[in-house]
Symmetry: C2
Subunit: 393 residues, 2 copies
């Protein structure tokens, strides 16, 4: 037996463990100081009530023979896939329920989708980047090329005609930068993909944070995208499902591929390697897509976005360059005076007891940048910015 | 962009759709006849009460900020992994909680585990076989060799020293045959695996149906197995979780591999491509492993095994050769008078309105055999055997 040797090419990710270690050391040395965490990448508010009620009812269904649910469709129950179709209808995107695949979260499907593509495909990912895009491709031995996000393009790289790619990762609103592509930007990517017979893997996990109605929240709002894009989304950030686990993947019938229907390949993959998402969770997710559910989820998002405003305002006052925070729970700031990411981390931890995430942890182009998140409370966020504003650089 | 061309080598599985089509045609032609299904591979009794209570409480946890659970460990909550460790302790198997990985079901992990192995590995699977073992390997382009299950070995093939294999699939109690390896049989496999530096992928999804205390319910009851075996199990059949979704995979620290720790490779795979099982479901699973939960789950299994007894008794009276049904919900019978599987299917459907599963659907060696299952009600199972006994061959 031999192992998959590609795994030996993976770099260990020490980002969050290094942060934890530094914070714990500081805490031990300064037990009375109150640390405020603006590095949290997880939701903190409870689930919308409508999902709670729906899941209680679903648990009760599992208690009675007449309403008991055994194996469901691997692709997800029709009730949920149709609710997702309706949700997209409101964005002006028309889908068929068989183009929608319910998953246990976007992370699973973003990794697993690679099963249906050739290992010789060239992969294009932005830098800085959500590490999962890179690592899943290293695991299968694919060649990864990077496109530069930086201050001059606002961390929203556009296609370079000289770069050849087969699979392109786009995350908008972006994790970690919070930057959001406008329609014109996405149009360029769709055009590039079609011209190069490439597939866009579009991660829209943060779509619910988009306030600006001019910004697309689905790649399918762009003409031609159904011919070249797969979209991954999740209820994790939309409705606080990070621990409840439900997402979905859209593979249009129309995607152009000479060899086979990608939609059918994915059906084959999922029916062979997956057995669907818990009935109870799918009922909770269905409730989220009701009018009441959408309203409740929006309320939570507004709470987080109030924090993003508090953070944005402070950065504006401090004259610090940043992207994000307008249509995303993330703010990506340029460390003042050319400081390095980890130096900035150390400075704000030791001087004002605020924790964030060093941009260098997301790739070379993140060096000199820093991520703050909007998932703490109003009180703590306000307190944190007051502290940050006192800093001298 | 190119697709993974291995997918083009997959054979379409029409087994269950062909069955459905034939049954529906018969129904349309004979609307007043009552069909009894003994082909059901899914549980039919509701979840144990203890799991229902635990999941209601967990849903309530998700409704309050103080008890809300966001992202959990990809590997599963410690409370569940420790409950699984305790469950194994009762079998005399000592595990560390970090050798246990909670999954959304055995099917997912049985497919995904291949990610950590080289595509050049040679795979050994029994014939007849649960199709997932074969298809997941075809998807990654591995060479699959078969070992013959047949009447003379009671559908429990033993190692052949002339066959070289790197990965060996063993399912005991077996799906589809219901045959169960005894200690001596598994010892031979562990010995073979160690000698050949092979890994046994042991599927114990039906372990809870084993009545005979002499039969092992975990590969780790065999000395040396921790050096060469990964075990997959599930609450699907143990506790009716087919639609609730929870399973687990055990990768011992001790597995011998020069290149890397398989346990650590799997941690890397799961942290990159998975985000854990729903908190709510994990609380339900934890409850199943309590004394009360085990007792309730056993009651349901006893109900099914009463059906298996009814079926066994009938086959004995009819003088039909079969395996299974003693420590498994499946009975695998030899079609009388050398009939082919599908001819037997047609005969019992049209003459006595009973539905089962043709063995030929599970591989060449299944031809001439037929699977009956114990998941219907006592009333229907009794009625079905009365009908079967009237048949003339």
């Amino acid at each position: 037996m031999n192992i998959n040797k590609n795994y030996l090419n993976l770099e260990s990710s020490y980002l969050f463990s290094t942060i934890a270690k530094k914070v714990n050391e500081f805490k031990s040395a300064n037990p009375n100081k109150e640390i405020i965490r603006l590095g949290i990448g997880d939701v903190t508010l409870p689930l919308p009530k409508v999902a709670i009620s729906a899941m209680h009812a679903a648990v009760d269904d599992q208690a009675k023979k007449e309403t008991f649910h055994g194996y469901g469709e691997e692709q997800g129950y029709a009730f949920l896939r149709e609710a997702i179709v309706d949700y997209y209808q409101k964005k002006g995107v028309k889908l068929d329920a068989n183009e929608v695949f319910v998953s246990d979260g976007a992370k699973s499907d973003i990794g697993n989708i690679l099963d249906i593509f050739d290992n010789e495909n060239i992969v294009l990912v932005p830098n800085p980047v959500y590490p999962v895009y890179v690592d899943t491709n290293i695991m299968s031995g694919r060649k990864v090329v990077f496109m530069d996000g930086n201050e001059s393009n606002g961390f929203l790289p556009l296609p370079d005609e000289n770069v050849k790619a087969d699979l392109i990762y786009i995350c908008s609103p972006n994790n970690p930068t919070g930057a959001v592509y406008d329609r014109a930007g996405l149009e360029k990517w769709v055009e590039y993909a079609q011209k190069n017979h490439a597939i866009i893997l579009f991660d829209s996990a943060y779509e619910a944070f988009v306030n600006d109605s001019e910004l697309p929240t689905s790649i399918y709002e762009i003409e031609g995208a159904k011919k070249c894009a797969i979209e991954f989304c999740s209820l994790s950030k939309t409705a606080g499902f990070t621990g409840t686990r439900c997402g979905y993947t859209i593979i249009p019938f129309e995607i152009e591929c000479e060899e086979a229907s990608l939609n059918k390949l994915w059906v084959r993959r999922q029916t062979t390697k997956f057995n669907g998402v818990s009935y109870i969770v799918q009922r909770g997710a269905q409730a989220i897509f009701s009018d009441e559910g959408i309203a409740e989820a929006k309320e939570n998002i507004s709470y987080y976005m109030e924090n993003a405003k508090i953070l944005s305002k402070a950065l504006d006052e401090m004259n610090i360059w940043y992207v994000g925070g307008k249509n995303s729970p993330y703010l990506w700031l340029k460390c003042p005076k050319g400081m390095k990411s980890w130096d900035f981390f150390d400075k704000i931890l030791t001087e004002v007891c605020v924790v964030g995430t060093p941009g260098a942890g997301f790739g070379e182009n993140g060096e000199g940048f820093f991520r703050l998140t909007a998932f703490n409370t109003h009180e703590n966020t306000t307190k944190a910015v007051e502290r940050l504003k006192k800093l001298k650089f």
